[in-house]
């Protein structure tokens, strides 16, 4: 599904540059659920952004589902993002003047689907996250957990090959966090490949594999026994 080899990335800071990723090698198979862990500044978010085509690597190879991701034009990157990737952000990143249904339907708009089809699909995914009754509410009328569920529905709507979550529970309390993780686990059970960036051990332990990053290199890459959220609740 995803193959990264010898990936480097640095950011210019004033006159010098900060080397954030120093040669990352990572293989992820279909159906995996991987947590990327590390303290802040370890490069975990940068790695996720590069995987998500939101940012570009300086050197190294990144192959997603057999496609080399390199020197993409803006237009091509947009098409790939839309087709292959679903994003879940810490701060939800919903469009504040669109209601839940419209937010979920937005990636489908960029896929060029007809309005009716978009609405049906969006409704289907809202139902999946249990928010049918909230479809016509604006983000500000929803709780944090509900907003994140809308964001998950939106990420799923485009039927992506890979789901990328950047601290998906960072802005939520423990109870709601587990609720959200339960959803994500369920999605993984259905076969979605999922990549989660987190700094919380208990969230990481709910994944099947933990990749630990420190100072831009992978320190540890282990498969773990997944903790099911149901056991925590």
């Amino acid at each position: 599904m995803l193959k990264i080899s010898n990936l480097h990335k640095s950011y210019p800071i004033g006159g010098s540059s900060l080397h954030v990723l120093k040669g990352i090698n990572l293989d992820i198979e279909d159906g995996e659920m991987v947590a990327i862990m590390g303290s802040s500044g370890s490069g975990k978010s940068t790695l996720l952004n590069i995987i998500g085509m939101l940012d570009e690597a300086d050197s190294g190879d990144y192959i997603l589902d057999g496609l080399p991701i390199k020197n993409l034009t803006e237009k091509k990157a947009a098409v790939y993002r839309n087709k292959f990737l679903g994003f879940i952000f810490q701060s939800f990143n919903l469009i504040n003047y669109k209601n839940a249904l419209e937010n979920v339907a937005l990636p489908l708009y960029y896929q060029g689907l007809k309005r009716k089809e978009r609405q049906e699909k969006a409704m289907f995914f809202l139902e999946k996250v249990g928010l049918t009754d909230w479809a016509h509410h604006l983000p500000k009328e929803l709780s944090g957990g509900q907003n994140q569920r809308v964001a998950i529905a939106r990420a799923l709507a485009a039927n992506p090959k890979l789901l990328l979550a950047d601290e998906p529970t960072g802005a939520l309390d423990t109870g709601t966090s587990f609720e959200i993780m339960e959803f994500i686990q369920k999605l993984n059970d259905e076969g979605k490949t999922i990549l989660i960036v987190t700094h919380e051990e208990d969230i990481a332990n709910m994944c099947k594999r933990i990749v630990r990053l420190q100072d831009g290199v992978i320190m540890e890459d282990t498969f773990v026994n997944q903790v099911r959220t149901a056991q925590n609740v």
Binding site: D55, E74, A78, F87, I95, Y109, Y110
Partner: protein, 409 residues
Amino acid sequence: MFDIDLWREIFQSINMNRTRSILSGFTVAFAILLFTILFGITNGLINTFEEGFKDDATNSIFVQSGRTTKAHKGLQVGRKIQFKNEDFDFIKEEFGDKVEFITARIYKNVTASFRSEQNSYTVRAVHPDHQFLEKTLMKEGRYINQRDVDERTKVVVIGRLVEEDLFAKTIAIGKYINLSGIQYKIVGTFSDEGNDNEERIIYMPVSTAQLVYGNNDYLDQINLTYNPKMDFDQALAFSTLITKKLKNRFSVAPTDQRAIRVRNMAQGAKAVNAISFGLGLMVMVIGFGTLIAGIVGISNIMIFIVKERTKEIGIRKALGAQPKQIVSIILIESVIITTISGYVGLLIGVGVLDWATPVLKDYFIKDPGVSNSLVIGATITLILAGTLAGYLPAKRASRIKPIVALRDD
């Protein structure tokens, strides 16, 4: 080509961000409103000026006579110069097609009566060309014609106010009016765009007046218009030539300012044109200034809007929006807001002008108004400016890395 979903997106954005939309629309509406009002008022001023000189033909030359103030060729000071029919014929023959219309005038004050109504009026005895010189507008009947002059018929043409005064209960045409004891047949009534006094005049054939009042061939004044093909300098040269020839004819000293007086309306017309031009220039400066203010306003707003939407742009890009789609959604929104608010500004401006017209009339501003094409042109300029001003930041925003845009809080 028409993408209903794109429009739906845009209208939702306008509708859901009402404060932003209204504020940006306000700037444009206000610019167009000011533009309309200022332009309208200046146009009103120009109208007032032009109306003041509309009464008479602007290419008129008036020739009058008086007493000499200088001795010349052995003739005494204080000699009265009297124009006669032969002088009228002299000018007509001497200057040929340089003259467009020509008429003599004889003035008499009369007491006019019809049945029991009676009043005093001024009679002007004229040639048929007088109608075109004075821009007399016939209401009914006909003007003095050449046959009247040739046959010295006792006919008159009376002004609108004469008819109102004396013929309140009946129609004037065909009736006989008594002017200081002599009966004249009324063959026409007229109105005039000049002041009311012009409509209290009674016209009669020049030859009839000469017969009735003294049986001579005297003329008080000769009026003519020069060929409109002449430019300003040619017209001035022409009136100078007339002056010179007449002074020579009557043996008047070339420096004598009183004996022969020639007044050329071209000079006045030139002043009016200069004032109109000055006002026009003022309009241009005002209009240009207002437009620039509007352009600066809409540009600022576009930069602000793009800044405010940076995060939204990041989200859309993460979800697969292409740069082109980002640019078009921002630009079309700005064009729609500018167009609608420009139109609103125009409507309000025209409304204000309409409402203020009666008030402004007291301040020498007549019929203030603007041509639609002008205001539409101004609105289009603003739309183009808004588009251009929005395009650059929108383009930059569409190129921004989604991750940078998403981090923006």
